[in-house]
């Protein structure tokens, strides 16, 4: 119960962050762009997947990526909470607006519950991965992940691996694409593929645990 209340304490800060930082305007701009691309022929599942994943990355940058937010984690840890509660709360706080963006974009271009589910699953998995990157490394990694997802996230791995050199590089690229969160994985969620759902759930859990570990390390950085 205490854990859930600590998680909800993080959620309560979503509205002020959304309205007073660049997070709100960035999500609106992303949503408008994706709806426009959807009306120009971009596949509707891809619109939902991009809305979820890119929205979650923007959310991670907004709720935990800035230097000030990362330093403030140490202050939060001097209160009765845990790194896991903070990590879970931040994940909820970044996934919520991204899920809302998925719903709005899908409702505008092609409302289908299966597409919405795929977008929200992508938001959960990619958001968790983004959180585990921005807490130790800052917003520069959020930009890198954003570009990766926007440009390469929706491309099938076979096409990307074909671009890599043979040997170890190709093997490493194929493994990274297979194991990492990528939109082509979560496209199958729309068709009820359990492997894709399990992949997303695994990334969600792993990302939160990694973020929690990095938050715990910031306790000693207080001061």
């Amino acid at each position: 119960m205490q854990f859930l209340q600590c998680v909800l304490a993080e959620w309560a800060l979503v509205a002020p962050r959304f309205t007073r930082t660049r997070l709100g305007i960035s999500l609106l701009a992303l949503g408008a762009t994706l709806v426009w691309l959807g009306s120009r022929g971009l596949d509707h599942v891809t619109v939902a997947l991009l809305a979820g994943s890119l929205g979650a990355i923007l959310g991670a940058a907004g709720v935990a990526g800035s230097d000030n937010e990362r330093r403030a984690l140490a202050t939060a840890l001097s209160h009765p909470t845990t790194p896991l509660a903070i990590a879970t709360g931040r994940w909820v706080a970044l996934t919520g607006p991204a899920a809302l963006l998925v719903i709005v974009c899908t409702a505008t271009v092609d409302w289908r519950p299966s597409i919405v589910a795929a977008g929200i699953v992508a938001a959960a998995a990619v958001g968790s991965c983004a959180l585990s990157l921005v807490i130790p490394l800052g917003n520069a990694t959020a930009l890198g992940l954003f570009l990766l997802m926007a440009l390469a996230g929706a491309v099938a791995p076979e096409r990307l691996v074909a671009l890599a050199h043979p040997g170890f590089v190709r093997l490493a690229a194929a493994s990274a694409l297979e194991l990492g969160p990528a939109l082509w994985h979560y496209r199958d969620v729309a068709t009820g593929h359990w492997g894709a759902i399990a992949h997303a759930l695994a990334w969600t859990g792993l990302g939160i645990l990694l973020a929690s570990a990095f938050i715990g390390r910031r306790r000693a950085l207080n001061g």
Partner: protein, 293 residues
């Protein structure tokens, strides 16, 4: 063990070499020393942010590493950071929700009201954190540290709390900390500038290279009297026990009378223009320990 608000027993960690300390409820202890002496590390151990590799730390009979300990200890770090896009009240409400989660009988709004009042931050409650001046940032750091209400946070650990504050803000915050101590809150406070603690702390610990090199009640430490002698010209060689200063020479009286010390000056044929006896400052004690160790 529970008679003490905070107990550190031979704690050691990187930069700190076996420090012991016991703080009574309502006591204010100052930690002074040069940069790199281990003040912040000592405070981080006392606040439970850093786990000691040796020794033990307790707060109200509760091991400092226990999650429960954070209900009792408030910590304001040097340059504590808060989300800049939030208002002061929202920041405190966030922390208050964490306390209310641990103790459901406390209402978050009530905790925020108390913290704002205790830190003197009521007028700035609706300002954005990013718009606060340095003094109000320190008040916010104090407010979040005391959050938990009366009977909640019973030990305050404040790092470099008075640094870069003007005299008025410093006096105001000193008064607020003294009032908290009068209510039974034990305070451990560190300062690079020892003068900041002279009017507040009841006890001082002088740290150097991770060790306590001098400690005791402040009146006893500051009780050492010093004879300052103003001379027409600096002497080529000061009399035994004296050292040369900008205006002449000075020496701790250490049991002898001012007259006997002045007689020694006259015996050395020094042209004394004037003299005065003053009490040693905490800064001098820090400098002395620095020079002698």
């Amino acid at each position: 063990m529970t008679d003490y608000a905070l107990t550190l027993s031979d704690v050691a960690v990187r930069g700190l070499r076996g420090v012991s300390l016991a703080l009574l409820p309502g006591e204010i202890a100052g930690v002074v020393g040069p940069a790199g002496a281990g003040k912040t590390t000592l405070l981080q151990v006392a606040a439970g942010c850093v786990h000691p590799t040796r020794g033990e730390a307790w707060v109200w009979g509760c091991r400092i590493t226990d999650a429960n300990a954070r209900k009792f200890i408030g910590y304001a770090a040097d340059h504590a950071a808060f989300p800049r896009a939030l208002r002061v009240r929202e920041v405190l409400l966030y922390y208050a929700r964490l306390h209310a989660a641990a103790d459901p009988e406390r209402a978050p709004q009530g905790l925020v009201r108390e913290a704002l009042e205790m830190a003197g931050l009521g007028a700035a409650a609706n300002l954005l954190v990013g718009a606060l001046g340095h003094a109000d940032m320190q008040r916010l750091a104090l407010a979040q540290a005391v959050l938990g209400g009366r009977g909640g946070r019973r030990v305050l650990v404040l790092d470099e709390f008075f640094t870069n504050l003007d005299a008025i803000a410093r006096r105001d915050l000193r008064g607020r900390i003294a009032r908290l101590a009068a209510e039974g809150v034990a305070v451990l406070i560190a300062a690079r500038d020892p003068a900041a603690l002279e009017r507040l702390a009841a006890r001082a610990l002088v740290l150097r290279q991770g060790r306590v090199v001098r400690a005791g009640p402040l009146p006893a430490l500051l009780g050492e009297r010093v004879l300052e002698v103003i001379l027409d010209a600096p002497p080529p060689e000061p009399p035994p026990g004296f050292k040369i200063t900008d205006a002449g020479i000075e020496a701790p009286l250490a049991g002898r009378t001012a007259e006997s010390a002045l007689a020694m000056c006259r015996a050395h044929r020094l042209a004394v223009r004037g003299s005065r006896v003053r009490v040693k400052s905490l800064e001098e004690i820090v400098l002395e320990t620095h020079d002698t160790h």
